[in-house]
Symmetry: C2
Subunit: 360 residues, 2 copies
């Protein structure tokens, strides 16, 4: 079914408020989920609501807490998310960075003691909309198996990079691993096969059945004992296809988040600890040249790429093209939610005396 995005927004605001988030935080959290749904990143949309509420009930997330700024200079920021949702500290961090970047040219922020922060692209886009380069990273539960290893150790470790452009910013946003766990979950729900080299079992054999892969991932991410297997690094199963480069990219994010923040590394977030860490960076491109000229140059590069000769039946898309198209479409057509999620929303609504968004 499809629901109106404004109905989704107000429903989510009411749910979060009922769980003791401030009015401002409720609005922000709702916006990050609606934004993901509008962009077709449903793995990070309203289907996460039940999972978030469970973590609040278990006091993994402390909804009344506010982030604490531990250190601040004209170029840098260290924030304690105070065990509340990652979105709240991340929004605070990115707002502060944006405010100062025109003066300092480049800034960095690190967040510790945090939780899931939604999509990495949300914060990087805030920077792009202010005419800046924005980089966002988070570590995650352990899901990803290093080159040659049999056990998951690294997170799927998101990386988002944006650059200002028209008709929309360049937005490169996703897991550093070959796919996110969410993409396998979606196939498993549909009972489909995995089309590429995405997941392996404990013997490092490629798993094609999405349900088998999903069972492996659940065990790997949420239980203390590593049962073997997980998601592959970008490059796939074989060293010959340079999967150690994907491994390196994932390790870079691990260092910028868990290590710099002195929080847990991804490998340790399934053993009683649940703290994630986030990393943000902004750069003012106008230090290097007139922003309109830079934007013109980057837009011309993107157009040349989009128009390269390509294989029949395919399309060349620049990062961001797909999600901005969906954003415009879904604002009109409504946001698609699956039946399981629809049922969960009804239960949540009933429990709180609210009305779930209706199908349009």
């Amino acid at each position: 079914m499809r629901i109106n995005y404004q109905d989704e927004q107000s429903f989510l605001e009411n749910v979060f408020a009922a769980y003791d988030f401030t009015k401002e935080d409720s609005k922000l959290l709702a916006d990050t989920l609606v934004d993901a749904d509008l962009r077709g990143i449903s793995s990070h949309g309203i289907q996460r609501l039940k999972w978030y509420l469970n973590m609040i009930k278990e006091h993994i997330i402390e909804s009344k807490n506010q982030p604490i700024i531990l250190k601040e200079t004209p170029t840098s920021l260290l924030i304690d998310a105070n065990q509340n949702m990652g979105q709240i500290a991340s929004n605070l961090a990115m707002k502060k960075l944006i405010e100062k970047t025109k003066k300092s040219v480049i800034l960095v922020a690190v967040i510790r003691n945090s939780n899931h922060f939604g999509t990495a692209g949300y914060y990087s886009r805030m920077a792009a909309e202010a005419g800046l380069i924005g980089i966002s990273n988070t570590n995650t539960r352990p899901l990803v198996v290093p080159t040659n290893a049999k056990d998951a150790f690294l997170g799927s470790n998101a990386f988002a990079f944006t650059f200002p452009a028209e008709p929309h910013p360049f937005v490169f946003d996703g897991a550093t691993s070959v796919v996110s766990g969410g993409k396998i979950q979606v196939l498993a729900k549909k009972g489909e096969q995995i089309p590429g080299e995405w997941a392996i079992n404990g013997e490092r054999e490629v798993v094609k059945d999405a349900n088998v892969a999903e069972d492996i991932l659940s065990a790997v991410a949420f239980t203390e004992k590593q049962p073997g297997g997980g998601v592959l690094t970008l490059g796939g199963n074989s060293e010959e296809n340079s999967n150690y480069k994907g491994f390196g990219n994932s390790l870079v994010v691990e260092i910028l988040t868990g290590i710099l923040a002195q929080g847990s590394i991804s490998a340790d977030t399934n053993t009683g600890k649940h703290d994630f860490s986030q990393f943000f960076l902004t750069i003012d491109p106008s230090f290097f040249g007139d922003l309109d000229v830079l934007k013109g140059n980057v837009e011309s590069m993107f157009d040349r790429i989009r128009n390269l000769d390509h294989t029949p039946g395919t399309q060349i898309m620049v990062p961001g093209d797909r999600e901005y198209k969906r954003f415009d479409d879904n604002k009109v057509a409504g946001v698609a939610i699956d039946d399981t999620t629809a049922g969960q929303l009804d239960d949540i609504a009933k429990d709180l005396g609210l009305k779930a968004p209706k199908a349009i």
Copy 2:
């Protein structure tokens, strides 16, 4: 044959001095090549010498020029390499960044009007040795084909990231594409097959014969008309294995170098223009926590990764492990050079009235 690395250094210093580089620049250039050879990155070692000298003779490289600092703030730097070797401006940039990072926490430098700069890792390691995070990027000749496209457009676009650690820093250094052009060149010299999905022809079919691939790359990188084909993005030939993520990584480097510097993008460096651009970034990790504690944490993470259960006959290596091992070995055993290069060195020596390094 193998040559002593100190003999290599003094020979190279004399050659560069004979081509009108300053004494200091000659020493630096020699050091970057010897360093690459010691680390087993022979594609970026002394075998490049003839290629460099040809570019000097053709005035693509202007050996007497000195870099010009166009803009400088406590956090940022814009440098014109003044058409001299990339190593000279890059070394200047990284030294300036390192000097200021303890005060400013994070800095950025962009270089325009530059040439080849050797290995990206060289400059990032300077940062790591000063207790800092170091990031280095360069664009290159066009070699890499975007997802679904048939023509090369992107450079192999190197990315290096370092973090201080013992017994050696974390050094992740390489092309953002599935492999560098140099790796295919090495196989072509040996007449071997390509083991993975590295290169494609103009119909986007995977090419396994390294000599065929090498012919494609030479045409793609150095002639005006794009004949089709090139190196694949990380992820290989198929969208199903997320090769658009490798595409995205390459585009990020393109933006940070050619776009920010307002130089040529990689696609335009085969059409009469030869200017490359470079990007550097440093972060002081000790802003976020005691450096010894952070190093201890990262070292413990690396050791846990190295000791994960793995497939028989393989080894798990953390980025940097292999090159530091070779560095120590080759200091003793000497640096390996192939017969073609040995012949070229003899010719260069004869031409300048010098003595080429002898086999040990």
